[in-house]
């Protein structure tokens, strides 16, 4: 997901307080910033929300890559609006994280020096226009799978951010599917682009949900706290079951020879992604990790003078105002 393999923090708090806290969560109450919370809950949330926020920010890059080459004015406008939405999502999420006592600048520094992660998916390149379709359809689609349940997460500010974000994400997914329809129903070259995009984005999309449940060590505490609402495998299964018929509708082939409907479980059997690739990407060895981080670091470092200039000006204005009073 946008937050993958979020390590949950052990908590050493007063057992009575912990029990009362857990009771609130079990009763479906929302935890608000001023409420008491275990340190582990707070830290895990910072990591998860921060990772999600960073994903929105880095996620601007693979799609921004096609804004200047969008084939029509309308497609350019739609893509611009989408990338702008993603930046907005980043902003809501950083605000939600700030309620937990960490500033946006601190989180940004942690992204830029590699202490914090973002979703593995954004380390894959976007090579043709069909990738703009595939990203909307599959990547935003996978994000929605995870984020819709998170609207009910226990932490109030996070839950409210998710409500706003989900509306826009489903719009993105429809727009992505619309591009895929145009491509899949278009010329021979467009059909090839569409199939190629599905071939390249299928397994990376499955990886978005994180490792298989049997290898997912951090899930249970997070699920108890209702920071994580479903297991990785549940969501992955749901995603495959939703997406395969859509691929069929498009006349595209999911690049998995083992894919087959399983009547007994009422879902598809499918091949797992290559987890060694996934761990490699998380370690920094995806096709675009280095470039993504270089781009974000350059945006931050090369423009430090802008932030400093505007802050200096604001300080002068404030000083002048004080002097006038």
């Amino acid at each position: 997901m946008y937050a993958q393999m979020v390590k949950s923090e052990a908590t050493q708090d007063d057992p009575e307080k912990l029990a009362a806290f857990q009771a609130r969560i079990d009763a479906g109450e929302k935890i608000e910033p001023k409420d008491w919370m275990p340190e582990g809950y707070r830290k895990t949330l910072i990591r998860q929300i921060g990772q999600h926020a960073h994903s929105e920010i880095v996620g601007q890059l693979p799609e921004g890559n096609w804004i200047t080459r969008a084939p029509t004015l309308e497609r350019k406008a739609i893509l611009l609006a989408k990338v702008q939405d993603e930046a907005g999502h980043g902003l809501y999420l950083y605000c939600a994280a700030e309620t937990l006592g960490v500033s946006r600048d601190e989180l940004t520094e942690m992204l830029l020096d590699g202490r914090m992660k973002y979703s593995s998916i954004f380390n894959y390149p976007t090579l043709t226009w069909a990738d703009m379709g595939a990203v909307g359809w599959l990547v935003d689609g996978a994000a929605i799978m995870n984020q819709v349940p998170l609207q009910r997460t226990s932490y109030g500010p996070y839950s409210r951010a998710m409500v706003r974000i989900c509306k826009e994400e489903s719009f993105h997914q429809r727009q992505g599917f619309d591009i895929m329809m145009k491509m899949a129903g278009g010329t021979e070259a467009q059909r090839r682009m569409a199939q190629d995009a599905l071939n390249r984005f299928w397994y990376p999309s499955l990886m978005m949900f994180g490792p298989s449940d049997k290898d997912s060590v951090h899930s249970s505490q997070s699920m108890k706290w209702r920071i994580k609402m479903n297991t990785n495998d549940e969501l992955r299964q749901k995603f495959v079951d939703q997406t395969v018929p859509q691929a069929e509708y498009l006349g595209l082939t999911v690049p998995d020879e083992t894919l087959a409907w399983n009547d007994e479980k009422g879902g598809y059997d499918f091949a797992e992604p290559d987890w060694s690739e996934f761990h490699g990407v998380l370690k920094g060895n995806g096709p675009c990790n280095a470039e993504r981080m270089r781009a974000r670091n350059a945006a931050w470092d090369d423009n430090a003078w802008v932030r400093e200039g505007l802050m200096a000006h604001a300080a002068k204005k404030k000083a002048a105002k004080v002097a006038a009073e």
Binding site: I57, T68, A77, V83, R307, H313
Partner: protein, 262 residues
């Protein structure tokens, strides 16, 4: 809107068509330039604001070039005009095709254009052509916000740190020779002005200079003497080398896969 007896319908259409291309090409080319910042801005709010500006400009392009295509009446669409003309058929100002440079150059270019754009759109709200007045009425709200933001940023950075001041002064020096073209009137402008469709651009110069002087004073920036002006964008006679490179990107898909629907 009456047609003057002295001017044939074909001539009028051509002048109107050219004027509409000038409007639409300015917004298209500048919108494209601004969109190049996507994901690389100094701060998240700026990513959002730049994308928003680009989005407004592309939306205005759809209106201006859409009307241009209607006026031309040759079955071309706004997309055909954007994606299938070569450099010499573009009618945008040289200013808007200049590369982004650093953020200072981008925001200075934006302010220099926004201020002109706002004055022009305000006047166009009273155009004798209702279609133009309608587009201007929509666009003027967006551009009012653009100029507020770009002026504020020019002031903040000009009157910021020593470094930001230096960069903004360099941006102003670099871009100043591209200001004059906005106010040069040619026979197209003359015909449009006579028809009451468009104000004479020269008439916008005084209010522009006044607004600019006020912003530059607050920004502690100074304009150099002289009013040398590069020309050739709005007539299409001689664009800068930069526009061709922009078009190779912008038009690539349409050129590489002719006739495909996207």
């Amino acid at each position: 809107m009456a047609t003057p007896a002295s001017s044939t319908a074909a001539q009028l259409d051509e002048a109107l068509f050219t004027f509409l291309l000038r409007m639409g090409d300015n917004t298209l080319v500048l919108g494209h330039r601004v969109s190049e910042w996507c994901g690389h801005a100094p701060v998240l709010e700026e990513d959002i604001a730049l994308a928003n500006t680009a989005l407004d400009l592309i939306g205005q392009t759809q209106m201006w070039l859409g009307l241009a295509a209607d006026v031309e009446g040759q079955g071309r669409s706004a997309d055909d005009l954007a994606m299938l003309r070569d450099v010499w058929d573009f009618r945008n100002l040289l200013l808007v095709e200049q590369p982004n440079g650093d953020f200072g150059q981008t925001i200075m270019r934006q302010y220099l254009f926004d201020q002109f754009h706002l004055l022009l759109l305000r006047a166009l709200q009273d155009s004798a052509d209702d279609r133009i007045a309608g587009i201007a009425a929509k666009a003027v709200k967006e551009v009012g916000y653009h100029v507020e933001r770009s002026a504020e940023t020019v002031i903040g950075l000009g009157d910021g740190t020593e470094e930001s001041h230096g960069r903004m002064q360099a941006a102003l020096d670099w871009l100043s020779p591209y200001v004059g073209e906005m106010f040069v009137s040619d026979e197209i402008d003359a015909e449009m002005a006579t028809r009451g469709i468009v104000p004479d651009p020269a008439s916008l110069r005084a209010p522009y200079d006044a607004a600019l002087a006020e912003v530059l004073a607050k920004a502690t920036l100074s304009r150099h003497e002289g009013d040398f002006a590069h020309q050739g964008g709005k007539t299409g006679f001689r664009h800068s080398e930069h526009l061709g490179h922009m078009l190779t990107q912008m038009q690539w898909l349409q050129r590489a896969y002719p006739g495909a629907a996207w």
